[in-house]
């Protein structure tokens, strides 16, 4: 296995636990410092075939979307910059940082690379701060706003249609993790390969476009789920008048969700579940 691939694997694996020390002060900062420990000055892991010797700033600064470890060999002529004390380096890496955890490997890989290339610490700090917004926003929209609900809805449709329990959770876990793990791995590869030049590659991931692509089938499957549940629920609801009340209640609740959006969905479902329990309690028999 090449040095670059080992670095990508290390970034990928460490990114899985990066949220372990998430806190309100530095957010992912401490997790970033932990994930980057193998790549610290004098650490055991290197990102390039040349053993991580510093490279020319002129290359590190303009590596574009086409750059990769094979096409962008690190020059060996550069004189190493003075070694920064380990604790100072760790303090810099633990500064406040946030990103979507699936895209955080872009930042880990890129920081590992530019750090080993001997880039200026102030430039690394600016670069790190510039990554926060895009890596957070893009990941949230795609992963939490589109892919997770799609996986859940698809699995629930399978469950309502009568698939066995093991098949439902297998479907959910496979759907989810194929995209989850491949996105994390791709993000790690981009970061390690491109260093300062990750911006174009992040754009090339086209996550907003994927979010848009998932939405139409997601809406269709959501409609299917609602139709199935509406009929199944109505069938449980006894006589015609009770069914009418149930269908009206379901439609009104659904419209309430459309009107209230995520803000309403935070507390209202819990209240509705308490209502169900209250009814159960009243009908103890």
């Amino acid at each position: 296995m090449s040095t670059g691939m080992r670095a990508v694997l290390r970034v990928f694996l460490r990114s899985l636990l990066i949220q372990g020390s998430w806190n309100y002060r530095t957010l992912l900062g401490t997790g970033m410092a932990w994930a980057l420990l193998p790549f610290r000055p004098g650490g055991r892991s290197q990102v390039g075939e040349n053993g991580g010797r510093p490279r020319g700033e002129e290359n590190g600064g303009r590596a574009g979307a086409g750059a990769n470890p094979k096409a962008d060999p690190l020059p060996e002529s550069r004189t190493p910059s003075p070694v920064e004390p380990e604790s100072r380096w760790i303090a810099r890496m633990a500064e406040p940082f946030n990103a979507h955890p699936f895209l955080a490997p872009v930042a880990i890989g890129a920081l590992a690379r530019v750090g080993q290339e001997g880039a200026d610490p102030e430039r690394i700090r600016t670069f790190r701060n510039a990554l926060r917004g895009p890596l957070g926003g893009l990941g949230d929209q795609f992963v939490w706003g589109a892919w997770r609900p799609f996986c859940v809805v698809a699995a629930l449709v399978a469950g309502v249609l009568g698939a066995p329990a093991w098949a439902v959770i297998t479907l959910f876990l496979v759907f989810w993790n194929v995209v989850h793990l491949s996105l994390r791995f791709r993000a790690a590869a981009i970061g390690v390969a491109l260093g300062f030049g990750v911006a174009d590659a992040i754009r090339a991931l086209a996550l907003p476009r994927w979010t848009e692509r998932i939405a139409p089938p997601g809406v269709l499957v959501l409609g299917l789920l609602c139709g199935l549940i509406l009929v199944r629920g109505a069938m449980f609801a006894g006589d015609l008048s009770t069914r009418s009340i149930w269908v009206s209640g379901a439609v009104l609740t659904f419209l309430g969700g459309v009107a209230g959006g995520a803000a309403l969905s935070r507390w209202a479902p819990t209240l509705l579940l308490f209502l169900a329990a209250a009814v159960a309690w009243l009908t103890v028999g």
């Binding site: 899985l16 949220q19 372990g20 998430w22 806190n23 309100y24 530095t26 401490t30 420990l37 380990e86 604790s87 760790i90 303090a91 633990a94 406040p96 946030n98 939490w144 706003g145 997770r148 249609l161 066995p164 329990a165 439902v168 959770i169 876990l173 989850h180 139409p216 809406v219 269709l220 499957v221 409609g223 789920l225 199935l228 549940i229 009929v231 199944r232 629920g233 449980f236 006894g238 379901a250 609740t253 659904f254 969700g257 459309v258 959006g261 969905s265 209202a268 479902p269 819990t270 509705l272 579940l273 308490f274 169900a276 209250a278 009814v279 159960a280 309690w281 009908t283 103890v284 028999g285």
Partner: protein, 215 residues
């Protein structure tokens, strides 16, 4: 932690049902809790309920109480325990802040950073176990309170609640309302345009036809 989604209520609830010999109830309870939280966007440090660990006691209560009423009681317990779990997540994040205090200002040795990071992970695992364990005790209490059980973990006995005519008619639809609300929120999140509204209606009609045909 690693976000493989094993701790989502759909999975943890179904697995809990499997262990208790009733995967179908586990799937219903876990799936309903999952659906109820469908519209959430857990971005950044958003404070949200934590339904994953809560699904385990919810399924335990539902299986032991039995019937539709048992599912309703289990879901209510799960909903309450999700709020409690969410509160412990906030506490855990504050504790993480204390455990890692000063690293970003004064720096630390690599070993110290690793120890503190792993310490936070271990505490989070312990928190998850405590939330689930306390939830199981609460489930035993609920079973003893609502059903025929003895109210202790070792002496659970199946009971029956909500099996009266009114309960059987009213409870199943009510249990689906949280999902309807979350589905509405999700549709809004997927930016409904006219074309998407048409797709939703097409899916809805297909669902009605499939469910009607199957019955």
């Amino acid at each position: 932690m690693a976000q493989f989604m094993i701790s989502r209520p759909l999975v943890s609830g179904t697995l809990a049902g499997w262990i208790l010999g009733d995967p179908a109830t586990g799937l219903i309870v876990g799936g309903t809790l999952e659906a109820a939280h469908l519209g959430e966007l857990p971005a950044g440090g958003t404070r949200l309920p934590e339904p994953g660990p809560a699904a385990v006691p919810a399924v335990a209560a539902a299986v032991q109480l039995g019937g539709v009423g048992g599912i309703a009681a289990g879901l209510a317990l799960g909903a309450g325990w999700s709020l409690l779990g969410g509160a412990t997540v906030i506490g855990q994040r504050r504790l993480n802040g204390r455990m890692t205090l000063g690293i970003e200002e004064e720096g630390a040795a690599a070993r110290t950073v690793a120890l503190r990071h792993w310490g936070c992970i271990a505490l989070d695992a312990l928190r998850g176990c405590l939330v689930t364990g306390a939830g199981l005790i609460a489930a035993a209490t609920v079973v003893g309170w609502m059903g025929d059980g003895q109210g202790s973990l070792g002496q659970l006995a199946p009971g029956r609640v909500g099996e009266g005519e009114f309960g059987l008619q009213v409870l199943p639809p009510i249990l689906l309302l949280p999902g309807a609300l979350a589905a509405g929120a999700l549709l809004r999140g997927w930016s409904p345009s006219l074309r998407r509204a048409a797709l939703f209606i097409a899916g809805l009609v297909a669902g009605v036809l499939i469910a009607g045909g199957a019955s």
